[in-house]
Amino acid sequence: MNTEDRILEPGRIEAPFGEIRFLSLAGRDLFTRRADRFRFLSPGHPLGKYLDFLALLADAQQEAQDRFPSLPPPDARELALCREHGMPLLDTRSRLRNPAWRTALTLILRRMSEADLPKAARKTAAGLMSVDENRLEEMADGILSGDPAATPPKELPFIAAALQVYWVRMASMVGEDAFAKLEPAGVCPVCGSFPATGIVHANGTEKGLRYLCCSLCASRWHMVRVKCSNCEATQGISYYSLEGSNGAVKAESCDDCNTYLKLLYLGKDDAMEAMADDLATLSLDMLMDKAGKARSGPNLFFHPGCEAKQA
């Protein structure tokens, strides 16, 4: 029997909305919740120390988000143009970044250089504070071009953290209603980035629906289940989990494009968080890699070039 399906009492069945909700933006407390989850996952975890570091980084991100200066809203004509041509309104590649993202970086670095970190990490944070603007923009371009490997592994988490804060802020400023569905459906309708993971909801009107989670702005957009989020194939889709696990995290893999993306089934564990649980299940990535499958979306806190040696 289905142990995860609750039996609903009469009158408690929620009627589905007319349309499936297609987008939800990150909440204001995203980074706090992420930090809590990193802290929950870290004890006894083989990557525990790194998860602790990321918990501190997420705290710093929350602080940076709360203290982020207000920005001028994007130009209405530009938004209309994006909408007309089916482009993401806050596209990472076509839109000029407001240098304010570096304010977020400064806030994060200041907090991190005071935190209790391994010496190498603290040194990197301190070193980044004096890196010149052009070099910072260059590293940001590397990350946003969809190739996190272009940024040195030491600097990647800090730069990525600041960019996340900036894009989360921009998205919430533009507001959920401004965004529309895009083709292809596998990129974020807010910023055009690839998803880091997918989440299968467990409750309410969204029960069982799959939402892809943006690796940059943490927006979640709906995509039909049992369909490759990378090439949209519906045949040859398989699910891999660690043998003996409860199946809360599965890699949805596609025979057509030979990639996979992890899905978090909240029905098995509703405390999971897209970014944190993705990193905490690195063993699944390593086994998928060994099986010859490539990840279709990045996790910006995981440098693809140094996976086998050091995280």
Binding site: F53, A120, G208, Y240, S283, C306, E307
Partner: protein, 173 residues
């Protein structure tokens, strides 16, 4: 590089193996509402292993049921693994209380034979006024409602061309 080691993670991964499963869309066989399903099965079809269905949920993306299932649909996984599930044709002779397994060939031949005999005996080509009607009123046909448009079309063509008027698609066959 930031001072974090992944030696433990590498050691851990050696202890694990991958388990493969699939999710397959289907339609609930019970009634004419035709709710969408997602069936979860273990096993790898390519390796001649018998796929074993271990979980069935309502398809959340399906426009008809949006992931919901009625109590019968929610119990489908037990229906699949039921010991008394009908898997082959069986015949119970008139007056007997015993079911006997027969082959598909025997079943088809017997059904066709009985249909033909009845049709030959009772077919009405013309009514009393001499108008051509081509009716066969002594046999009726009940088809399943969860079939596809295509099989519905073929059933309609086959049955109507025999002259059968009593024809319905019913939910619980």
């Amino acid at each position: 590089m930031l001072g974090f080691s992944s030696v433990d993670a590498l050691a851990e991964v050696r202890e694990f193996k991958l388990a493969r499963s699939s999710e397959t869309r289907n339609t609930c066989p019970y009634c004419s509402v035709s709710c969408g399903l997602i069936m979860h099965s273990l096993g790898d079809r390519a390796k001649n292993a018998e796929p074993a269905i271990f979980h069935i949920e309502g398809d959340p993306d399906h426009p008809v049921n949006r992931g919901t299932l009625c109590p019968k649909g929610a119990g489908l996984v037990d229906f699949i693994h039921s010991e008394s599930r009908l898997k082959y044709p069986e015949y119970r002779a008139p007056g007997s209380n015993e079911w006997k397994r027969i082959s598909w060939d025997e079943a088809f031949t017997r059904v066709a034979r009985l249909m033909k005999d009845d049709r030959d005996k009772n077919f009405v080509a013309k009514n009393t006024a001499g108008v051509t009607v081509n009716r066969w009123l002594t046999t009726g046909f009940l088809a399943a409602s969860a079939s596809s448009n295509e099989s519905g079309y073929i059933t309609q063509k086959a049955i109507r061309s025999l002259g059968i008027l009593a024809f319905d698609n019913q939910a619980r066959v």
